[in-house]
Symmetry: C2
Subunit: 316 residues, 2 copies
């Protein structure tokens, strides 16, 4: 069903249930959605007094990246009959939250990274104090943005989304995952359970929130929410496995961040636990399981299926 | 109208409009409300895996303090006919946000404080990495808590509250104030405008949110919201002036934190700008103006009026 063409573009046919012969062009889809997201993010934060904090927030927020999280949110909302407009404030909030987590993770007291997406990390440019505050500013603005900017959605649903976002970022999600990750550093005997806890919380929780929040905004029923939640959990774990693989197989210049950091920091990773081949196979299996959850949505599931493939494609 | 009795208790008579002769007993009021707030905070965060992050969040959240922010929120909600139950999740969120700001402000990259409320600061106990994450966890949980725990309030109002909370914490509020505060450190020629910007944002914005959110939850009309917002802005600034005064007039042992820090860090303060006497007079004037805004609420404004007095009483 999936092929990688000579341009390195992932082409997913319209699944088994499709009546159309047109292949789904993920590359165009992603670049169009990314453009919309970047315009919305750019408009979300203006630089005003005190300029330094807004510049610092914008520095990391506008530093590029694939915008996979907001796109997942938009795609899921559209899959269930919602519009891009309904989901855009939440999509932006998800990217603000993701950016906050990167800024704080890069701090000297945490992972102590100098580069991120090929640019100096926030604290290397603005100082540690401003970087901490920029993260705090982005985190609180994310919630404010969803609460005040969401249009055309019943307020009950917006509250549900805010609840899910909070759960995905806090000690029950991203923060909890980072805590276990930090505690596991330098330990040579991390169990698969611990590693999976780290990743389902540090990366998985927010990716799941992207999909689930998009679905909630569109008014998803409980069955569809569960299906999409399983899709998201699977691609979340696959995403992390691929990230671990990239860290040891791709040089820094291509990666846009310091490669081999995990190895150097003696961080437990899937490749260190399973080896490269088994890690690749596991990522592939998770993506297949994720795509199986989309069968129920027929042709509409195309974008999410292609995104799932795109994730494993990154590993080759 | 106000007297301080021999127990150091503030006794405010029931204002001019009161039909009752019973004096309002602020001390009992504060201790009863504080007990409710502490019980709600205690119940809000359970310790589960990974324990360290929940313990760290609880360490600072349950470290005492007057709980003035949540009490202001509850008092305002009740003043306008709402209940304690309606406002309690927001009241707890305000204390979580306040606690987050203290944890992050105390970090070595910021104010570098070792003691807070007579106890070691969060990072001195748990390390800088966990302290940063505990702040992030408290901040996101605050929004989640309001969104998921508020009962008996129309969801539109809850969204308004979340929007106000975000504005009060982010670059438009607390974070923005801290940025200007950090930039002003060591400068000998801070203008009154800059100092006022710092305090209306660093302290004032959250105190205003306490009052305004309590009012929104109770369904306040625009006129009452504006009155209460002015009340809050005045006590917010008075509160900060008094804090500055306490820093130079009360020894560390009584203050529960390192005294004289502002002086040592060459921080601009109201006493350094105006001198002690003018600072005290200005605080008193702000409190009187704050209380004048409460006239419209008659006898019901007693608690808020007494809290305003309590703030200046702290300076004597």
């Amino acid at each position: 069903m999936t092929d990688i063409n000579t341009d390195g573009m992932v082409v997913t046919e319209n699944m088994d249930l499709s009546g159309s012969d047109r292949p789904f062009d993920l590359s165009t889809y992603l670049s169009q959605k990314k453009e919309l997201v970047e315009a919305a993010l750019d408009a979300a934060i203006a630089v005003t007094y005190p300029e330094k904090i807004y510049e610092s927030m914008r520095y990391s927020l506008m530093a590029g990246g694939k915008r996979l999280r907001p796109i997942l949110c938009l795609a899921t909302c559209e899959l269930l009959g919602g519009t891009v407009e309904m989901a855009m404030p939440t999509a932006c909030a998800l990217e603000m939250i993701h950016t906050m987590s990167l800024i704080h993770d890069d701090l000297p007291a945490m992972d102590n990274d100098d580069y991120r997406r090929g640019k100096l990390t926030n604290h290397k440019v603005y100082g540690e104090d401003i970087a901490i505050l920029a993260g705090d500013g982005l985190l609180s603005y994310a919630f404010e943005f969803v609460a005040t900017q969401t249009q055309g959605v019943p307020p009950e649903r917006v509250l549900q989304v805010i609840g899910r976002l909070g759960r995905a970022v806090g000690a029950t999600g991203l923060v909890g995952g980072q805590v276990v990750d930090l505690a596991s550093e330098g330990l040579s005997d991390i169990s698969e359970e611990t590693l999976t806890f780290i990743h389902t919380h540090k990366t998985g929780a927010l990716l799941e929130a992207c999909v689930v929040c998009g679905a909630i905004l569109a008014g998803a029923n409980e069955t569809d929410l569960e299906r999409l939640s399983r899709y998201a959990k699977n691609i979340g774990l696959a995403f992390q496995i691929v990230d671990d693989i990239l860290d040891i197989t791709v040089p820094s210049s291509e990666l846009g961040k310091t490669a081999g950091k995990d190895l150097e920091a003696q961080k437990a990773t899937y490749p260190s636990l399973w080896g490269l081949e088994k890690s690749r196979a596991k990522a592939q299996q998770l993506v297949e399981e994720a795509k199986a959850e989309l069968q129920a949505f027929g042709n509409g599931g195309c974008a999410l299926a292609a995104i799932a493939d795109f994730i494993t494609y990154r590993s080759h």
